[in-house]
């Protein structure tokens, strides 16, 4: 067990707890920088992981730290994406300006959603954001001058200050840089009064008000900042997928983002990243499973007889080849995590770390939740 001995307040204010932790993160940074040399074939997938990481960060700030669950974040992603494409391709503005304006556009719409959000709590807020997402999806379809509607529009590769970032590894480093910037800015906010105010709003609004937290301002700020991060991610997302269409930014995508923060672990920045890796890998896992699991199950069942093996294989095969399996799998994973691992992957990692660091004094009841009884949250 390690007991860090603190001698100055600055040690608590810093981003890293102690030099050991700083060295670990330095190592992680080095590994990520050297990754293109190790797995050049998967660079574009890794870029997607980083973009998802930014998205997860955005929703983590809103849902994990401020406690406002939003089912409409894909809308902000779309606003950022379409705005960026419009400003750089139609208006010919420089790339940086395009990203900045996309961020601003998304933040503005975040404020728009924030206003009704001030009056609603809990599930009602989630429904309101869902309504917003559906409105925005319709706007994408109808505002043809900017979005080209259902025809879709292709997206050029990014060109920053005249340098083309079209290659996989250039784009990889671009996404990595944006992710690190987003992480740094968010971590700064979270250790400042703003971050504390957000956590206060999550845990007890009335107490927060009594301590001088202006609820409306901080909730709107949470929405705006979260949407701004999504807008920046949207610009990168547009370049990554190469072709914009309104039916990309659906409720299913929002649910994927929610899955990301829940699976990763609500209430921590690490959780956003773990969740991003998980959600980015999930489609790959599902398609692999689709191809191989029926065959394996068939072979396993063939122990009971060839007829049984064949039926199992055929029925499973028919089952997984159905369209519409993906949302079901997402839903299933979300349900399983909430039931059995509500602290997410990061939570499980903390438990494992605590077990080994306090070995053999680990108490199994450390994370057991106290039995709580439900009170109506309509009056919260």
């Amino acid at each position: 067990m390690r007991f860090p001995f603190k001698t100055a307040y600055d040690q608590d204010l810093g981003l890293f707890r102690d030099p050991v932790q700083r060295r670990w993160y330095g190592g992680l940074l080095a590994a990520v920088l050297l990754l293109p040399l190790a797995i050049p074939a998967y660079l574009s997938d890794m870029s997607m992981v980083f973009i998802y990481g930014l998205c997860g960060l955005s929703l983590m700030v809103l849902a994990g730290y401020t406690g406002l669950v939003s089912l409409g974040h894909a809308a902000f992603l779309g606003i950022g994406a379409y705005a960026h494409v419009y400003f750089t391709q139609d208006l010919g503005l420089p790339w940086i300006v395009g990203v900045a304006l996309a961020t601003v556009a998304a933040a503005a719409s975040g404020v728009l959603v924030g206003l009704p959000a001030l009056r609603m709590t809990g599930v009602y807020l989630t429904i309101a954001t869902l309504a917003f997402a559906l409105i925005i999806q319709e706007v994408f379809t109808r505002w043809e001058r900017v979005t080209h509607g259902l025809k879709g529009r292709p997206v050029d590769k990014p060109v920053i200050f005249g340098v083309s970032f079209a290659s996989d590894w250039a784009f990889y480093f671009l996404c990595l840089a944006m992710l690190i910037a987003g992480l740094w800015l968010t971590a700064n906010l979270l250790r400042a009064p703003t971050g504390r105010a957000w956590v206060a709003i999550r845990d007890s609004e009335i107490a927060a008000q009594s301590m001088g937290v202006h609820l409306a301002r901080y909730k709107t700020l949470a929405f705006a900042y979260s949407a701004a991060l999504m807008g920046a991610a949207g610009a990168l997302f547009a370049h990554k997928i190469g072709f914009m269409a309104p039916d990309i930014f659906t409720v299913l995508l929002s649910i994927q983002f929610l899955l990301m923060v829940v699976v990763g672990g609500l209430g921590s920045l690490h959780g956003a990243l773990y969740g991003a890796v998980f959600v980015a890998l999930l489609p790959v896992l599902i398609s692999e499973a689709r191809d191989h699991v029926p065959a394996w199950a068939g072979h396993a069942a063939a122990v009971l007889g060839k007829g049984v093996g064949d039926t199992v294989f055929l029925s499973l095969d028919r089952f997984v080849k159905q369209p519409g399996l993906e949302p079901g799998v997402f839903g299933l994973i979300l349900v399983l995590f909430i039931l059995f691992e509500p602290l997410g992957i990061y939570g499980r990692w903390r438990k494992i770390w605590l077990y080994f660091s306090t070995f053999p004094l680990y108490k199994t009841a450390t994370f057991r939740r106290q039995k709580t009884y439900m009170r109506s949250e309509r009056l919260r």
């Binding site: 307040y9 600055d10 608590d12 204010l13 800015l185 700064n188 906010l189 250790r191 400042a192 009064p193 703003t194 504390r196 105010a197 956590v199 206060a200 999550r202 845990d203 007890s204 009335i206 107490a207 927060a208 008000q209 009594s210 301590m211 001088g212 937290v213 202006h214 609820l215 700020l221 209430g267």
Partner: protein
Amino acid sequence: MTTLFAADALVVNFGGIRAVDGVSFEVEAGEVFTIIGPNGAGKTTIFNLISRIYDPTQGRLLFRGEDITRVPPHEIARRGIARTFQNIELFEHATVLQNLLLGRHAHAKRRFAQELLFLPAVRARERAHREAAEKVIDFLDLQAYRDSFVVNLPYGVRKVVEMGRALCTEPALLLLDEPSSGLSVEETADMAFWIQDIRALLGITVLMVEHDMSLVSAVSDRVLALNYGRVLACGTAREVQEHPEVIKAYLGG
């Protein structure tokens, strides 16, 4: 002795119920003023009025000579009024230190752009807030719990943390809502000492709601007795305890 706070003919209706019916009282600077009464007498309602969680149907609230009847709730802390809650309203998933630092929010200069980049100015302000919070931790002997999550702490400690959070606001008027409820005899004695220290060392005026009459007699300068939202008696602890109507309504015997 100047009047720090005055309530002037407060009336609060909840639907058909008159929770507070024409209550007036004044709190002098530097005194400990207690409100007693049976449950449902309107004591916590008055606190909620002062914290501006409720709006009075009629009446005025005056703090330091200014009318605060229509001030928004988050302004109250900045003006110098802090409160604790009857059912503890701490931030459960934050550490004790973060709870106390949040008490400093009323005095925090908020510059979003600076915070985003965590400029040295922000760092200096954070250090100052930390020092102020540490003073409160020393005052209340909370050093052992500094980095514990509130959700893991026992009830008695949580009550102290709640008071600490209110003290971090550097209030002129401190509202304590049933400070000794749920505390053991020892903890109640500690609470009595702290209230006296708050008044003597920190110069803060205390307005509290309390049921424990021994605590009331020990620390209060003046007592107000309420029943069904109306004032029964106001005076020193001894006077109110011997008042016939108070005995009939609340104390028994």
